[in-house]
Symmetry: C2
Subunit: 404 residues, 2 copies
Amino acid sequence: MIGGEPVEAVMVRYGEVFLKSERVKRRFVSAMAENIGLALEAEGFAHRIETYRGRILIYGDDPARIAKTAARVFGVVSASVCTVTTADIEGITTAALKRAERRLRPGMSFAVRARRSGVPGFSSQELAAAVGSAILERFDGVGVDLTHPDYEVSVEAREFGGLVYDEKIPGPGGLPYGTQGEVITLLSAGIDSPVASWLMMRRGCRMLHINMHGGRFGGADVGRKVLQNHARLSSWVPGRALDLLVVDMEPFFEVITALKEPRYRCVLCKRFMLRVAGILAEERGAHAIVTGDNLGQVASQTLANMAVISAATTLPVLRPLIGFDKDEVVGRARSIGTFEANPGEIGCAVAPRYPSTAAPAETIARIEEEIDAVGLAERAAASVRVIRAKNGAVEEAAPTSDDT
Amino acid sequence: MIGGEPVEAVMVRYGEVFLKSERVKRRFVSAMAENIGLALEAEGFAHRIETYRGRILIYGDDPARIAKTAARVFGVVSASVCTVTTADIEGITTAALKRAERRLRPGMSFAVRARRSGVPGFSSQELAAAVGSAILERFDGVGVDLTHPDYEVSVEAREFGGLVYDEKIPGPGGLPYGTQGEVITLLSAGIDSPVASWLMMRRGCRMLHINMHGGRFGGADVGRKVLQNHARLSSWVPGRALDLLVVDMEPFFEVITALKEPRYRCVLCKRFMLRVAGILAEERGAHAIVTGDNLGQVASQTLANMAVISAATTLPVLRPLIGFDKDEVVGRARSIGTFEANPGEIGCAVAPRYPSTAAPAETIARIEEEIDAVGLAERAAASVRVIRAKNGAVEEAAPTSDDT
């Protein structure tokens, strides 16, 4: 706005995309604006989005709810309901007084935070001083406290207008969804893998989920919890379809449970999953496989086994949780909304009591040769079923099998 | 203690190791106790360590400083100076009153937090009530507030004695150093790789650092900042030697800067580093290569390039920062103590202006064949120089070359 009446809007702050070159930045900001638009459409908000250097403005009927929706979009550092006014001291001061009126009470301290960018004629200090004096003059019994104010009003003079706001809803940060190419996440009913998927989505990766359906072996079943994880994760990329590829693991489990030696099952199983994920990734142009791998949480999660397992695919295996503590994973799962989906530990019906902690690569290669692991993986990848989720809900009816 | 005079000690809490089996738990607790012992020796504290179910107790002359030292050991959730007394209500109450006397003042609210484990005769509620009443009786003008107390005293009745404390120093958490096998981290002068190394050390991995010395090309030099990062990281595993393998990259840089096509240099360079790291890892029994890789931070950090780069080694490449935002990495670097080592961005003298964002695997393979990348890597790995750090300091004199 360059003149006219002050109007309420939502201001979106983005951070890291500032590190990029001008060309990349433009692409990222436009992707983020598109994603915000999809999120608002999914909620049924009529809106108009304007992108500026360092800020995105959204106009619409219910700024408070629009801000809440925008604050869940990847790439967004924070969203604020704000008054957009003229980029001069007078317009900004008037809007600041109006905002302060709603929340500033006698006995409260306040601070004015000012920014100025591309607007000549006054400094940010002068702007802050002008707004601060106007507030002191208008309101009785209030005082300035710049370090621990009870009330904080922010004012910005920018090329495209003046902005006044006094609340910030924190966003997830990260990079706009879809700017980083596709990856495929091994999604389970557990706590870890949904967090791994979310972290990579937040880093801009287009996501594809894959789940290994245990059939009568259950252990890695596509039950209610997997679908719930899948659906909840889709709520973070509103308006976009998120696909879950369900792979039938039953034939493979039939084969490995018939083997004499049970202790290599976990390594064989994980190698098989990576192999199938690798086939499907290449079919669909995904560049990496994402897992919820930790170190040392279960007996088979050793570095030695990880080396043998990784070698089952030529694609990079991304393990965003590899450096996390369990309580950090749980904290993330709670804030993402996937934690309540998994109240307990999920057992695996195929895992042996004493899995090997250092499966020798040669032994594994020999067993895989014997059972034709490559052929099994190719057939499993060919049998895939797709379950699409969108806006937090699964589009296909849930299967009737159990969760365990 | 089972009787005798109350005594001051340091109590160490550990968390995640409780997830393990009894056998693994014993191994982890004893590794953590050993590491705490090494840390205290490095600081010159005479001490005695006792390990119990769920708690480690340290006796020594300066509990406050011992607690601070113990609170930097991986696996430790928190450390508290505490009074160790008899495991009965009377002994605990007397110790709690004595502790409260030092910090509880008229007008303050307080809360008693009680735990009981393996001690019969009273419940934790009864213990809390007894201590609370005694405090109310002894101190004037104080009141109970269980939700937001000004002062909080914790009391525990355990098989081995009563514990009373009112302060907690948070520890790094994670798993005891050395319980997870060895990994090798590509350490640079930057912000990211030291954080990646620290996170994997915190997850229990024995660490080895490797740095690519650019020689006259400078870009990846083992300058003051690399040594500083290396030394600071060694301060997190006191009493243990941390080795930095310095590889001479100059011959490789000579070759790739002579190539007509500059845009594949970043991919060639990273593949070369992984190749050399892989050779040295296998020589020394390390199971994985750790990098500070992010997504989308620099032009060559694309998923497509990551796939081509990863294929240079058969070892798993662990990228603990792959799901991190830049500000999260910076926050970690600050708390670890490696951030101030790197005030600015570090440029690379060899990187082209426009690096390829999707280097074709076949082109890379052809160039590597032409330049004999395998032979170059083997010679580079053979020329390695070792710089050992211990207790936060480098044991070898720093080289005189520049930092850039």
